[in-house]
Amino acid sequence: MVVSDNTPVIKVEGLTARFGDDVIFENVSFQVHRGEILVILGGSGCGKSTLLKHMIGLYQPYAGRVLINGVDVNTEDEAELRRLRMDIGVLFQSGALFGSMTLAENVALPIQEYTRLTPATIELIVKMKLGLVQLAGYENHLPSEISGGMKKRAGLARAMALDPTVLFFDEPSAGLDPITSVEMDNLIKGINAGLGTTMVIVTHELESIFNIAHRVLILDKGARGIIAEGDPRDLKEHSPDPRVVNFFNRRPMAVKETRI
C-alpha cells in the first residue's frame, strides 16, 4: 500500500468564489498531499461543488489560485495545460459518459487524444481499465444500456484512462444503493492503495466518509469557508465546534421545536 507522504500535490491558495454579489466562500486555503484521500464535506449550498469546479479549472476564481503539481489550473500556457489535463481525472456525479459512444470508446477517447499508441494496445488498456472497475466484458455496451452504478464506474475508468496522479470525485456514491455505494467506496480505496492516486472527494454521505477519508475538510455556508479540518473520527469525537459535531451527528442547526 502506498502511504500518503507530505508532498503537496494540490495547493489551494486564498481562493474566493463569488457569483455576482453572492460570495460563496472567501479566502480558502489548504493542501492535498500525495496519495491522500481528502474528503470535502458540508451541507447543501455551502460551496463544495463550486470549490471542486474551481479545483479542476472549470470556474475562474474571483481571487486566489489552485496549483496542481505546481501548475496553476487556470494557466494560459497551452502545453502546461495539456500536461495538467493528463495529470487529473474527474468523475462527475452522473458519470458524464458520452451517450453516443460505447464504454470502450468512452475510455479509449483520452488515450487516443493524448498518446500515439496503436489501436490494439489501446484496446488492451481499455480492457484493463474496465476490468479495474469490475466492468470487464462491457466494452460494447452503450451508457444507456447499463445501470447508474455501472455508469459511475465506467466514468471512473475513463477518468483513470491516463493514470492521472490526481482524481476528483463529485458525489461518487450519490444515488447509489447502500451495497453499490460500499462497492464504490472499496473501489476508491483499492485504487488509492494500488496506484497511490491522490484523491479529492466531494460528498455528504457520512458512512463513506469514515470508510475512505484520510482527512476531511468541512465547509460551512455561514462561515463562507472551512470550519474544520482533520481526521473524521477525531473531529466527530473531539471537535469543540458545535457545527462540526452537529454535522457528524446529523443534527440540524436551528429547528423550531415541534409539539406533536
Binding site: L124, M128, K129, G131, E139, S144, G194
Partner: protein, 380 residues
Amino acid sequence: MTKTAAPRRDYSIKVGGEKGEAAVFFSGRLALENLEDLREEIRGLLGEMSPAGLSVDLAGVEYLDSAGAVALLEMEEEARARALPVTFINMTPEVRGILGLIDPEDLKIPPLISERDTSLLEQIGEVSLRLLADLIQMLTFLGELLLSLFYSLLHPRGVRWDEVFFYLKRAGVDGLPIVGLISVLLGLIIAFMSSLQLKQFGANIYVASLLGIAMVKELGPIMTAILVAGRSGSAYAAEIGTMMVNEEVDAMVTMGFDPVRFLAVPKVLATVIAVPLLTLYADLFGILGGLIVGVWSLDLTVFTYITETQRSLDLFDLISSLIKAAVFGVLIAGIGCQRGFQVRGGAQSVGAATTSAVVAAIFLIIVTDSAFALVLHYIQ
C-alpha cells in the same frame, strides 16, 4: 492506420542469468507513453530465449503505471504459454500494489455483445419493420391526439390557454418577419420571371392573375407550412424530447396528467390557429411583391393590378387554402410532438427526433397538398 510510439527510451531491459535460468532486469519508467516499445521488446526477448526458468527483477523500476503493469502481466502470460515459470522479484510495495490491482483474467473476457454485420436482406427487413412500427406509432398518436382535441372541445376550460397563447406567439407572431420577407421575395421573383415571358405576348396584365392564383392556392400555404415546420415543429420535438430525457414526462404520467393533453394539445391548437393566419399574411405579402414588379416594370397601376388579382380569385379559393393551412398546422405540431415523445436515451436521440420532425412534416405537407389539389379540382 497504424500509429507508432514516439521513440522515448526512458526505461531499460537487461538480460542476464546463469545455469539455464534467465534473469531480466527492468529499470526506469514503465508507463503508458512507452507501452508500445515495451511490449514489442518483451515479445522479442521471449522469442529469443528458451531458458528453464525466468526471474524478472523489478528493483530498478522508478515508475510503474497500470499500463506498464499490463505489459508485465502480459509477459508472465506469454511465458506461461511457453511452459516457462516466471517469478517477479525485488518488487517495491508500490509495484506490488499496482500488479495486485489488475486481474489478468479481465483482459481475456470477450465483449458481452458484439457488433455484428447484417446482410442487405436483413437490413431491408429491419428497415421495413421499423417503418411499420413507426406508422403504427404515428397512427396511435394521431388517435390519442384527436381524442384529446375532441375532449378539449367539450371541456374548453380544461385547455391550458396560457400555453396556447405562448405557442401562438412563438409559432405565429415571432414568425411574422421571416414569413413576410420570404413571401415578398417569392412574389417579386415569380412576377419578374413570368413577366419576362408574358411581355412577349403583350399579356402583362396576367402577371397579376398568375401570381394571385399561385400564392393563394399553393405557394402561400406550402411556404408558410415549411417555415413553421422548420421553426416550430423542430422546437416542439426538441422540447418534448428533452422532457423525456429528464423524466419530466414520466413525472407527469405518475401525477395522473395525460402528457398528450398537457403537452401536445396546446401546441397543436396554437399551430392550427397560427398557420392559417400566417398563410393569409404570406398571401398578402406575396401579392405585394408582385405588385411592386407590376407597377415598376410592367406599367400597371396599383388599381388595375389589384382588380385583376381579385377577379382571378374567389372566396372558395381563399377558404380552401386556409383550411389546407390548418391541416398543415395539425401535421406540423402533431409530428413535432410525436417525434418528441419517441425520444429514448440522450442528446443524440433528441437531435434525431428534431431532424425527423422537420423532414417528416415537410414530406407529409407535400403529400397532403397533392391530395388537396385532386379533391379540390373535383369538388369545385
